[in-house]
Symmetry: C2
Subunit: 437 residues, 2 copies
C-alpha cells in the first residue's frame, strides 16, 4: 500500500489529508503539497485508524506529544491506560508508549486499541528488554521488534539511526555524556562490538518496513544534550547532519520522516538550533523534547521546558514532547501527565501566535473579550483548562458583572475603566499621533 | 540625607553598594558606577534597613518581586505575613504590599517590620480607599499618603505618573482597555475632572519626597497591555515615552528610578519591547510583570508569564514581578505565592544564563555534574526547590548509584553510558573534526 508521502507526490489528496486540512483550517491541496515536500507528516499506520489523526509540520499548529509507559520499577497496564486517557483528554495530539517494564507488548496492544490519537514507540527498548542487556542486541533482533510494532499498527517510531561511532569521542568529552536511552544503548553496543550503529547500517531494511506500513520514522537524537553545558556541541550537530542525510533517504523511499531535537538548550541558543535543523533537513518536521532552559529546577521541568518549547515553537518546531514535573526524578503519575500536557499546550499555542499562524490569536482575543465583559462563564469555557480556572475563581463572586477576589469590586480595573468611559465618553484626540506600533 | 544615587555620583562606595557587590560577585566600584549611571537601583529607604538589600539592574542577576497584600474580599494581616514569609523563603528579592482591603496601614507596618527584603507599595490604592472612589481623589490626598509611606520606611513605590490625557483615546480603542488598577483609577480621575494626571503635574513634589527618604520610584505602566491584542500599541508606547522623560527628571533630582513594563505580549514582540525601553530610558532598570505570552491559560499564568519573563530577562529585564497561578481569577493564597516565586526565579535564572551573566551557569553545571554522578542528595541540595525535588523522587531508590523510577537500573542512560565507557575506554577519534559549535 502506498504511503501518504507517495500518494501526495502522485497528486492525490487522501482522506487523511482532507481531515488534517479540516482540523487545520487549511486548503487540502496545501496539505498535500506540504506532505509531498516532506515538510508535513501524517503518522497513520495503514493497519490502524485513529479518531484524531494529526498533521505535524512547521506551517501548521504546533503539536504536543505525551509520553506514557511503565518502567521496571513502576506501573502496569491499567495505570498506563489511565495516563493515556488523561493525556488525550488534556489535548495531547499524539502519545508515545515508552514502556520498558513488564508486559511491554500487552501494554502497547492495549494503548493501540484505546488511543484516539496516533501512537509512537521506541522499539529498541523492547529489543533490549528481550536481549537482556544493550551489548546482547542484534540487528536482526531489533528489526524483528520493529516489524512487530509496525504490524501491530504503531503510527510512528523513534529510531536512533544517526548516532555513529565517529560521534562518540565528542560525546565522551561532555559533562553529561549520553542521556538518550536509545543513544546510550547504541553507544554501548558500538563500543563493545567495535561496529557501526545497526540501525544506520540496516537503514534500507528499516525503510522497507516503514514504507510497507506507512510508519512515520522519527529519527531520534541519541546525542541530544542532557545539560546546558553540552548544548550545541559537536556530538549534537554531528548527529544532526547524519539525521539530515537519513531524512533525505527516507523521503526518497517514500517514507514519512521527522527529526527529533533537544533536550537542554539555553534560551540564547534556541533560535540557532531551530534554524540549523530547518536548513540541514530542508524543512522536515522538527520534534523537540523541551528544550529545558535551565538544569537547576527538578520538580518544575514542565516550566523550564515550556519556556524552551514556546521559543522553539515560535521558530517552527512542529511538535513538542511534553516534559512533566517529575522529569529527572521519577516516572510521571497521572497528575504529572496532565500538568505536562497543559504546559506543553501553552508553549505550543504561544508559539503558534508568535509565528503568526492564521487564526491562532483569535482564541486569545475571544478570551480577552470575555475578560473585558467580566463574563466568567465564557472565560471558563475558553480556558485551556476550564476546571482549573473555575477552581481558582472559587466561590467569591458578587453581583454581576462579577469581580474576582484579586481586586474586589472597588479596585477592579476593568470595572473602573468601563464605568468611567460609559460616564464620560471618549477622550479627545491627542495632539500628536498615537499610532506608532 | 543624600540618596544612593547622589552618593554614587560623588564617587562614594556606600555600605549598601558594598553589600550588593558581594552578593553579585561584582566589583564595588562597578556597582557604584552603575548606580551613578542610573542603570542600577538599590531600593533602601533611609528610615529602614533590611537584612537582604538588593541591587536591580540589567548587568546584574535578574531579581524577582512577589506581590502580597489583601483585597476587600479576602485575607487579613496574618495571612499576608505568612505570604511574606513564604515568598522570602522561596527566594523573592523584594515584596510589594498591594493591600486594598481593611487595615492597609497596619498590614504595611507589619510587613515593613517583618520583611527581610526591600518592600514596595502602590500608594494610590490607599489614597483611593480613603477617598472612597477614584474620582474623589485629590493631589494633596495622594501626596499625603506617599509621605506617610515614605516616612514609614517603604523602599520603593509604584507611581503611575506617565499616563496622560493624551494617551486615553488610544487606550479606549483597545480590546481590553486599561487593566492596571492605578492606570484605571487615574484615567477615571482625568476623565471626570478634565484635568491632567496629578502625579505628573506634581512630579517635582513627588521627587522631593522620594529624595528625602531615598525612596526608589518605580514608574508604573498604567497603560500596560492587558491582552495580546493590545500589546505594543500607541497607548503603551506613548506612556513609555513619558516614563522615559520622567526617569530623566528623577535622576537629575538624585532620585533612584526604575520603569515598569508589560503585561501581555506575544513572544515575537518581547525583544522589541525590551530594546525600546532600554533605548528610550537609557538603561534605567526595567521591571516587568510577566509578560504573559498567551491569554488562554487562566490557572497557569505562572507558566505563561515564566515564558515571557525568561525571554525578557534574557534581553535585560532587571526585575520580574511574579505572576501566580491564580492571576486573572483571584487573590493568591500561600501556595500560589510559593509557586509564583519559583516560576519567576526559574525565568530569572534562565535569563541570566542566556544573557551570559558571569557565574550564572555554574549552578546548572554543578547540578549536571551531580546528575552524571547519580548523586541524588547533591541534586536535592542544588535544586531550586529541594523539598519538591525530594518529594518527586520518592521512595523508590535502590542500591547506589541509585536510578530513579523513570528508567530503573536497566534503562538508566547515565548508568549504561558510564559503565560502557568504563569498560571499553575512549572511542577512537573521528576522521572529521567534531568541534563545530
Amino acid at each position: 500500500m502506498p504511503t501518504q508521502l507517495m500518494l501526495a507526490r502522485r497528486g492525490e489528496v487522501t482522506l487523511l489529508m482532507q481531515r488534517v486540512a479540516e482540523k487545520e483550517l487549511a486548503d487540502p491541496e496545501f496539505v498535500r503539497a506540504e506532505v509531498a515536500a516532506g515538510r508535513l507528516v501524517i503518522p497513520a499506520n495503514v493497519r490502524r485508524s485513529c479518531a484524531r489523526p494529526v498533521g505535524i509540520g512547521a506551517r501548521f499548529a504546533c503539536k504536543v506529544n505525551a509520553n506514557i509507559g511503565n518502567s521496571p520499577l513502576r506501573s502496569g497496564a491499567e495505570e498506563e491506560l489511565a495516563k493515556l486517557e488523561v493525556a488525550a483528554a488534556a489535548g495531547a495530539d499524539t502519545v508515545m508508549d515508552l514502556s520498558t517494564g513488564d508486559g511491554i507488548a500487552a501494554i502497547r496492544a492495549a494503548v493501540l486499541e484505546a488511543s484516539p490519537v496516533p501512537v509512537g514507540t521506541v522499539p529498541i527498548y523492547e529489543a533490549v528488554a528481550r536481549a537482556g542487556e544493550p551489548e546482547a542486541l542484534t540487528a536482526e533482533g531489533l528489526l524483528d521488534v520493529i516489524v512487530e510494532h509496525a504490524s501491530q499498527g504503531v503510527d510512528y517510531m523513534t529510531v536512533h539511526c544517526g548516532i555513529l561511532r565517529e560521534h562518540l569521542l565528542s560525546a565522551e568529552k561532555r559533562l553529561m555524556g549520553i542521556v538518550s536511552r536509545g543513544g546510550a544503548i547504541l553507544a554501548a553496543w558500538m563500543r563493545s562490538r567495535g561496529r557501526e550503529n545497526p540501525l544506520y547500517e540496516r537503514f534500507d531494511d528499516l525503510l522497507a518496513i516503514a514504507a510497507e506500513h506507512d510508519v512515520t520514522l522519527s529519527l531520534g537524537d541519541g546525542l541530544r544534550p542532557g545539560c546546558l553545558a553540552d548544548a550545541s556541541d559537536g556530538a549534537q550537530f554531528g548527529e544532526l547532519e547524519t539525521l539530515a542525510e537519513l531524512a533525505s533517504r527516507a523521503q526518497a523511499a517514500g517514507v514519512q520522516v521527522m527529526i527529533e531535537g533537544p533536550g537542554h538548550v539555553p534560551i540564547d541558543q534556541i533560535e540557532t538550533n531551530m534554524r540549523r535543523q530547518a536548513r540541514l533537513c530542508r524543512g522536515a518536521p522538527f520534534y523537540v523534547l523541551g528544550p529545558v532552559v535551565t538544569d537547576v529546577a527538578p520538580g518544575y521541568d514542565h516550566i523550564t521546558s515550556a519556556i524552551g518549547a514556546a521559543l522553539a515553537a515560535a521558530y517552527g518546531a512542529a511538535m513538542i514532547c511534553y516534559v512533566t514535573p517529575s522529569e529527572h526524578l521519577g516516572l510521571p503519575d497521572i497528575e504529572d501527565v496532565r500538568e505536562g500536557v497543559i504546559a506543553a499546550r501553552i508553549a505550543a499555542h504561544a508559539g503558534d501566535v508568535a509565528k503568526g499562524l492564521r487564526g491562532a490569536r483569535a482564541w486569545d482575543d475571544a478570551m480577552s473579550k470575555a475578560r473585558r465583559e467580566l463574563d466568567w462563564e465564557k472565560q471558563f469555557a475558553l480556558a485551556l483548562d476550564p476546571a482549573r480556572a473555575r477552581a481558582f475563581f472559587g466561590e467569591e463572586r458578587e453581583t454581576a458583572p462579577n469581580p474576582c477576589s484579586m481586586c474586589g469590586p472597588r479596585f477592579c480595573s476593568i470595572r473602573i475603566d468601563r464605568s468611567s468611559q460609559a460616564l464620560h465618553g471618549a477622550s479627545p484626540a491627542a495632539d500628536e499621533g498615537d499610532g506608532e506600533a
